[in-house]
């Protein structure tokens, strides 16, 4: 087994015992990136020099801890990828956009800073749809990332770079962000584990804002144990983010148990729709059957407002984005047009700096918030959002978790949906509702279709129900071997 194939928990054990060094691991990881980056294009920016320095520092910490008979912080020497919408001081942060070309943030996002405190090594910044708006990484202004299972297909998005990096062993694990499914959907399409925590569980400070009432930092990992470990490292209250939750962070690994006795799993009929790929439905239903075989109880539940989630999301998220992206005017960062007139500078800077999808969403959001349309679109969407949230609250009174497919189809071909925004948006129907409700969810592999493309199973839970969804996901994962399959590269 190559060092870059390790999980966090396996690598951490070897590092703490001194059986491998952080330098060896980071060097192996960087060689792997060099080898497969030309095909996969998961990284926008590889930070080899600083990664090696961090690895050297990690080895010193590990040696000192061993000498003192102690453990170094849990992520010491673990090489990670970071989605390029999260700020890392001193390294380019482009958000996949031309409008931030050359921008070097002067501060680090809290989630990333917490990983640094825990001893992690940062390999570089992973590709993303521009400002995290998209489901394929085709909206990156730089290049499209390729799915490691089939290079002609998308890795999903917007955290497609992070998901492809983990699937192709170009990082032990990675951070992503999830506004409408952007961690879970690429995790499903790349056959890895993607966790979206409860809104507010992880600080958004230093995450370049897209939809502020929906955005949440999440994890992409090779297994559920790593998701528990990584979440534990990034979660918690942050005085820099007034929407971060003050509740204490549990030891999520303690929640992982290999049985499902007495767990009630809700299966909503609204998530098995006409037009979905039969192989996806089959794999997800078989996963639920398997959970029943392990002692769980499956119950039909209803989330009756599911069909409206797409409309609600594509009004609220663009409305919030249109406000958040008003700050990109070329004055404080990014390239600036120079016409001599301030308003003309703004129009040109923004017109040239933003790509087609970002402009489309700014236009849509501006329209939904504009005089005469606010009540019909933005307010109405906010009211239906309440109904969607109530659906989940009601269902989760009857069951412990909800099991659904992550996506209606497996990975689609590059170019297949890019000219039809509505078709692209429809691929998000199974992930959006969770963000609208602010609850937590995890996607993990549950099978493969006839073309050997991974299928994702989503386990959804209530606000701050991370221990519950991790437990169910872990038990299922331990009873199956889907997560151990690797793409051939």
């Amino acid at each position: 087994m190559e060092l870059y194939e390790l999980t966090i928990h396996a690598a951490a054990e070897l590092l703490q015992k001194g059986e491998i060094s952080a330098i060896e691991l980071t060097e192996a990881q960087l060689r792997r990136i060099e080898q497969v980056q030309p095909q996969i294009k998961a990284y926008l920016h590889v930070a080899a020099d600083s990664a090696l320095k961090q690895a050297t520092a990690a080895d010193i910490r590990l040696a000192a801890a061993r000498k003192g008979g102690e453990m170094a912080p849990p992520l010491t020497g673990i090489p990670l990828g970071i989605k390029d919408v999260l700020s890392l001081a001193g390294q380019p942060t482009t958000c996949g956009s031309r409008i931030l070309e050359g921008y070097i943030p002067p501060y680090t996002a809290t989630a990333v800073e917490k990983l640094a405190q825990a001893g992690a090594v940062f390999l570089g910044k992973t590709n993303t749809d521009e400002f995290a708006m998209g489901s394929s990484t085709e909206n990156s202004a730089y290049f499209t990332t390729h799915n490691p299972w089939d290079l002609d297909r998308v890795p999903g998005g917007s955290s497609g770079g992070s998901a492809a990096a983990v699937a192709a062993d170009m990082a032990i694990a990675a951070l992503g962000t999830d506004t409408g499914g952007s961690v879970r959907q690429p995790a499903a399409l790349c056959g890895v584990v993607g966790l979206k925590p409860t809104y507010g569980r992880v600080s958004r400070y230093g995450l370049v804002a897209f939809g502020s009432s929906l955005d949440q930092v999440g994890t992409l990992t090779k297994d559920v144990t790593d998701a528990a470990l990584l979440l534990g490292a990034i979660a918690g209250y942050d005085p820099h983010d007034s929407t971060s939750l003050p509740q204490p962070v549990p030891d999520y690994r303690q929640a992982l148990r290999p049985d499902l006795k007495g767990v009630r799993v809700g299966v909503p009929k609204e998530y098995f729709v006409e037009g979905m790929q039969p192989a996806v439905e089959k794999a997800v239903r078989a996963a639920v059957e398997q959970m029943v075989g392990m002692g769980a109880e499956a119950c039909e539940v209803s989330l009756p407002h599911t069909e409206y989630a797409l409309s609600v999301y594509y009004l609220i998220a663009p409305a919030e984005a249109s406000a958040n992206l008003a700050r990109f005017d070329g004055i404080r960062y990014g390239p600036l047009a120079d016409s001599g007139n301030m308003w003309e500078n703004f129009r040109q800077t923004r017109g040239h700096g933003f790509g087609p999808e970002v402009k489309r969403r700014i236009m849509l959001g501006t329209y939904a918030l504009s005089a005469g349309y606010y009540d019909a679109y933005y307010l109405k969407a906010g009211q239906v959002r309440t109904l969607i949230k109530q659906d989940f609250e009601r269902a989760l009174e009857e069951v412990d978790v909800i099991a659904v497919p992550t996506t209606p189809t497996t990975a689609f071909k590059i170019g297949e949906r890019i000219d039809d925004p509505l078709a692209m948006y429809l691929g998000d129907i199974f992930t959006l509702s969770l963000n609208l409700a602010g609850m937590c969810g995890i996607s993990l592999p549950c099978g493969f279709d006839e073309q050997n493309l991974p299928v994702g199973l989503q386990i959804l839970g209530p606000a701050l129900g991370e221990e519950r969804i991790l437990r169910v996901a872990y038990a299922y994962e331990q009873a199956t071997s889907w997560h151990m399959r690797k793409p051939e590269l």
Binding site: Y103, I104, T243, A326, G334, P335, W343, T366, L422, Y425
Partner: protein
């Protein structure tokens, strides 16, 4: 329901986005299709349903107003295209 080119131009101006003629035509068509789809919300009865603008029950998160270290002027200006005497330089805002 379709948007007119004039409406597209109005929205672009509100958002300060310069668009080409091709972009205007494309966005007119695409935004019309998306809004048409979103109109299915109008069939939902939302009488007396409150709006959710945040899922959090937190309100008015307060802290003491104490001075703390912040970015230096030099660092804060480090990404700007144009600076002068420690300020961001912009074209004249007020017309004569």
């Amino acid at each position: 329901m379709g948007l007119t080119i004039q409406e597209v131009e109005h929205i672009a101006e509100l958002a300060k986005l310069q668009l080409t003629e091709e972009e205007k035509a494309l966005y007119r068509e695409q935004l019309s299709a998306i809004l048409d789809y979103a109109n299915k919300l109008q069939s939902v009865d939302t009488t007396d349903i409150p709006q959710t603008s945040t899922v959090l029950s937190l309100a008015n998160v307060m802290r003491e107003d104490e001075p703390a270290p912040s970015l230096s002027q030099e660092v804060a200006l480090s990404n700007a295209s144009k600076t002068e005497d420690g300020f961001f330089r912009v074209p004249a805002v007020l017309e004569e």
